[in-house]
Amino acid sequence: MKKDKQIVKMRIPARIQQQMLIDLQRKHPFAYERVGFLFTKSKKLTNKTMLVLATEYVPVADEDYVEDKTVGARINSTSIRKAMQTIFDNKGGCFHVHLHDHSGIPGPSSTDKKGLPGVAESFSNISGEQVNGILILSHDSFYCTVKIKEKKKFVLPASVSAVGYPMNQQFNNVRRIEKNDVFQRQSFLGKKSNHLFENVKVGIIGYGGGGSHIGQQLAHIGVRNIVVFDDDKIEGSNMNRLVGGWFRDIKKSLLKTAIAKRVIKKILPSAKPECINSRWQDNPDKLQECDVVLGCVDSYAERQQLEAECRHYLIPYIDIGMDVYEEEDKSYSMPGQVILSMPGQACMRCFGFLTDEKLGEEAARYGKVGGRPQVVWPNGVLASTAVGIFVDLVTGWSRQKDKTIYLTYEGNTGIIKDHVRARFAPEECEHYPFSEAGPPMYKKL
């Protein structure tokens, strides 16, 4: 199986990865190892990147194993037929999954190479447009090879990610990392941290007071693939908080994305920032391709839409926001929040942050709001906090696992702390089940 042009990105919710690991380690009455099927949905983006999103894992039933001492596990045709029926019903794809019981990157055995491609090819015969393949798990890594319609041979995906806290991302396009002392002081983030920062693709939605801090910090950290979405041009009223904006930019009506590019490239010349001068809704493929999205948007409706899109494509979404309110006694309060919306875990609705009441009030106000008060320092605090979450998410340096993050910020006191609602949030999100991952599927009524 030759390494080919890498255009496939695969995302597996960490919870499904865990489920697979637990299941595949169960003893079988006679087989040496177990097998399962990982069902997926694929989407081809406009730049030919193919996203593969895992939606469900189904173990092969005990009775569907065939006794054969020459191989680890042999499964019967009934199990393959059941998998094919699910592929047909879901209009999705499927991966044959088994476990190599060790740590580190697994590789296919000679039996795997001989026997498994045929299974994946059978899946492709009934779901040609979808990606099918073979997934071998180890305790902490994966080997994956996929069959896509355009290629005769199997190809290695560009990346395979277990989406959770922390992420477990494996990039196959290994590039030699330049040795210099730029990132010397952040070596505690882990040996792989520079490699991860070089390859992870991060979306910033809104390059204003929050987004400009984030863009700058990501470049300092060494994140090369930054996609900046903003359809706005800089104005005088932005200058009190848009980091990297120059006074002369106002006269030129410079696009905010152009400012982003200038800042990022000056800090990290090897960076490849992509400027999307439109609403993300008008360029959704660019968002769907991102591995992590940081949202710095103004409205609840925007947040709701962004979160929904990120959930469809199994993308962790980090939301920041702040507001300034005039109190009855004419004083001002300045609350803010940082929320991590992790696919499978509590969403912003589960947290009680997004409610129909808030969305309704906002919709009723639509068109009646002027520029709301915003200042640079809370934007900086919230953006820095979000970048800290992003770094931990990507590198896992703090060794915290399955963290729920809903932080509340009190601008008047400068305190940032866990929101009380985070404690009562459900472990699993009922609003965005994994079965709804991928492009929406309408069912006939």
Binding site: C347, A363, P439
Partner: protein, 112 residues
């Protein structure tokens, strides 16, 4: 969300091509090739009905474009639902309506 079969049947009499999907805990019915009230441009359109409360409305009807040639309405900012950018106008309905009633009352909002 389960839709009562008799209500779906009523809806099918207005527009036969119906399908549904869910997102963010809300259910949506995609109604294809629906005839809009006289004068509307376009005259026929796919629409998306959310029969549940969302965004402060008891139900919502989304259109792929802003409809012209009809009563002028307060159209909201574009909303992305189920990976499509939709338009909707501000139109409040009472609760506890049948699906067909919901659809027709929303459409009445377009009549001159």
């Amino acid at each position: 969300m389960e839709f009562p079969e008799n209500e779906i049947e009523e809806l099918r009499k207005i527009a036969p091509d119906l399908s549904f999907a869910q997102e963010g805990g809300h259910s949506y019915i995609l109604i294809k090739n629906l005839s809009l009230p006289d004068g509307c441009i376009p005259g026929i359109s796919d629409v998306l009905l959310c029969p549940q409360a969302r965004d402060g409305y008891t139900s919502r009807l989304f259109f792929p474009v802003q409809i012209t040639g009809c009563q002028e309405r307060n159209w909201n900012k574009q909303l992305r639902v189920l990976e499509t950018n939709w338009h909707a106008f501000s139109w409040k309905l009472e609760g506890n309506l049948r699906l067909a009633e919901m659809l027709l009352i929303h459409l009445n909002g377009l009549r001159k």
